[in-house]
Symmetry: C2
Subunit: 401 residues, 2 copies
């Protein structure tokens, strides 16, 4: 199934070429909408691009971004490691062909039974950020490798990511010391700068913090080897993002600044940067209306919304690029909304989108760069709208299997 994707190591297709291929497939087959199509060669391309840009890093694909077995299996075959959010994702990776020694349990929130099951599956790397979790790992996964997650922002600041994960640096240092004394392998420090991070220099504070923690521990004889820089690498949505090469440069400069020539082992956990640009979500216009005779805006309702695929439009966080068959003619401002009876199932109102003036019910609208955090976040069927069906294309441009 994925062999044809793996045979070559071609120059990466441009994002536009991938979109063209996906939209051509949709035009040929006209599947019922809404539907997501993911291009597996594009996933492979993006993974290889990250390997080239970050040659010193171990890439742990963040499974949560797109846990489709086709995607995970492809990345396993390409040699990726995996960041898993729990036992279910670990089992998924193993079924898709990833060896257990390439899995890292990155969720710092685990039941004791989760640690037991992950350890039984062969998982040997756990991230913690609290004493209780550390003690579970020490007792139930004896001898495992442990990373401690630290806040990636100054204590006084509020990151967009919030404080749900991580802890203050002095607590992180104490936990790693404790891990060492408990017979675990105190392996390193992790942090996360927040998903779809648009500032390539955002890793600087976390790298500086990690370097201090590592120096502190080294001074007492505990030598950490690993720095996990988490996720955050962006995908290409409507409003763009700096090129990934800028991130490689900025992160490299920070590592040089704080570690000199003695870089630790570096781990990256890309998710959306691997899969988002490989997907196109085809939707249909359900209704175009105005709320009064004077309204400047049209309301455009699509058959996909926040509950059946576009979860990340919450608070208009991700502004997807759109494409229609009528592009090129005159456009006007619209409010975009989903199909459910939920008044909050509105995609874009603050961010003004402009769509063709002749857009009509039945027209197709493609939501671009939708390979990440879409199908896997759909509800079981809120308002009766089913989850998002997904098709995976192989190198032939046709569905795999």
């Amino acid at each position: 199934m994925i062999e044809d994707v793996l045979v070559a190591d071609p120059p990466a297709d441009s994002v536009d070429a991938v979109r063209h291929r996906l939209r051509a497939f949709l035009d040929r087959h006209r599947p019922p909408t809404p539907c997501l199509v993911v291009d597996l060669p594009a996933v492979a391309d993006r993974y290889r691009l990250l390997r080239r840009l970050f040659p010193a890093a171990v890439l742990h694909y963040a499974v949560k971004a797109n846990p489709a077995p086709e995607v995970v299996g492809l990345l396993a075959a390409l040699g990726a490691s995996f960041d898993v959010a729990g036992v279910a994702e670990a089992e998924l990776c193993l079924r898709a062909g990833a060896p257990a020694d390439r899995l890292s349990y990155g969720n710092t929130v685990k039941k004791a039974s989760d640690v037991v099951r992950a350890h039984a599956l062969g998982v040997r790397v756990f991230t913690v950020d609290s004493e209780a979790d550390l003690l579970n790992v020490a007792a139930l996964a004896p001898g495992a490798d442990v990373l401690c997650r630290v806040f990636a922002f100054p204590t006084a600041a509020r990151s967009a990511f919030g404080r749900k994960f991580g802890c203050e640096p002095d607590l992180a240092a104490a936990l790693l010391h404790r891990a060492h004394r408990l017979g675990l392998r105190a392996r390193g420090v992790s942090f996360h700068v927040g998903t779809q991070q648009l500032d390539p220099r955002a890793w600087e504070h976390g790298i500086a913090t990690a370097a201090r923690i590592m120096a502190t521990l080294a001074a007492s004889g505990v030598h950490l080897t690993t720095l996990d820089l988490g996720g955050g690498l962006p995908a290409g949505y409507r409003d763009g993002a700096p090129p990934l090469a800028d991130y490689a440069t900025a992160i490299g400069e920070s590592l040089d600044r704080h570690f000199g020539s003695a870089w630790p082992e570096v781990v990256l956990e890309p998710g959306r940067a691997v899969v988002a640009d490989a997907g196109v979500l085809r939707t249909e216009v359900v209704l175009v209306s105005r709320k009064s005779y004077e309204d400047r805006h049209r309301w455009v309702y699509l058959d996909v919304g926040r509950h059946n695929g576009l979860t990340e439009t919450e608070d208009e966080f991700i502004t997807y690029a759109l494409a229609t068959a009528r592009d090129g003619g005159p456009v006007g401002p619209v409010v975009l909304a989903g199909p459910t009876c939920d008044g909050d199932d509105v995609l874009y109102e603050r961010n003004t989108y402009h769509l063709p003036l002749d857009l009509a019910p039945g027209d197709l609208v493609d939501v671009l760069a939708t390979g990440a955090y879409t199908a896997s976040c759909a509800t079981v069927g809120f308002n009766g709208f089913p989850p998002l069906p997904t098709t995976h294309l192989g190198a032939s441009g046709e569905p795999v299997r």
Copy 2:
């Protein structure tokens, strides 16, 4: 299965009695967490209570609030009508035993094919708020009854519900007039004051608006018969809500004020008011931690969060009441979060919750009044966390079927 719930018309159990029964069931059976238990006699009680409080109204249960076949089947047997958000919900109601003439298609966003299918199923009442949808209904469901949804708030105001549904009053009047000319039965006006509405007088503006629209149409010979007051009746969460009797009083006063003794046929679309109080969601504490040595707050992580059942904690909109086995001892402030790797999967941070100081991983926490907008809003498995399993209890206090 539901016969034993239907035999009697007992005095309604108190909310506390229902909670006690549900928690006793959970204590006896100790199912894996997270899990939702819904008490069907309590659903029947709440439905009967609304019938008593609103004797002049036709009750259309808002299926989206809890589309479990056990709940819908019970309400169908009790004689309820149903507000459906689409064809899938209409089919669900029919399978659960509701006759087609008790279904109303309340979603103003429909594909032409949805109108065709609903009409083929026997649905004869459609709500519209735009010309395009009205023309579809006229063409594809000829002769159907039509309601037009109007904004329930002054044009200048921004309702919490937003402007996704409804239209300005003069447009609504024109659409109803047009419906009449298209051979449809222009049946009435609908509006929605926003879910979990805490002000019993919130219906006043919409009722006044509807009365004006109905008078306008009557003056040109089109006699509307129906006023659909939508949803909005509250359930009992942590911070309480006025008694439902206050809503009956305030709505009755508004109807008297604007219609005198000639009330129209009144429709209500209760969802959460019927089912929320009938459910308890049992969860387990996964982790209790602090982010620094100085932290005043503990972080308490549950095995349920925004993605597997507690969707309505988005923006901390619904503040659920909690109960633990350790209640009664000293408590302290906590931040509550869910189990996924999503930094936004935080339940309550702005709203301070106080939980027992000795709360520990493995302890059970019951989230109360969780019968509405929980299991049906769970994701297909984001981060590997599966949808929320649900058990329905009959009059025996044990699972039905």
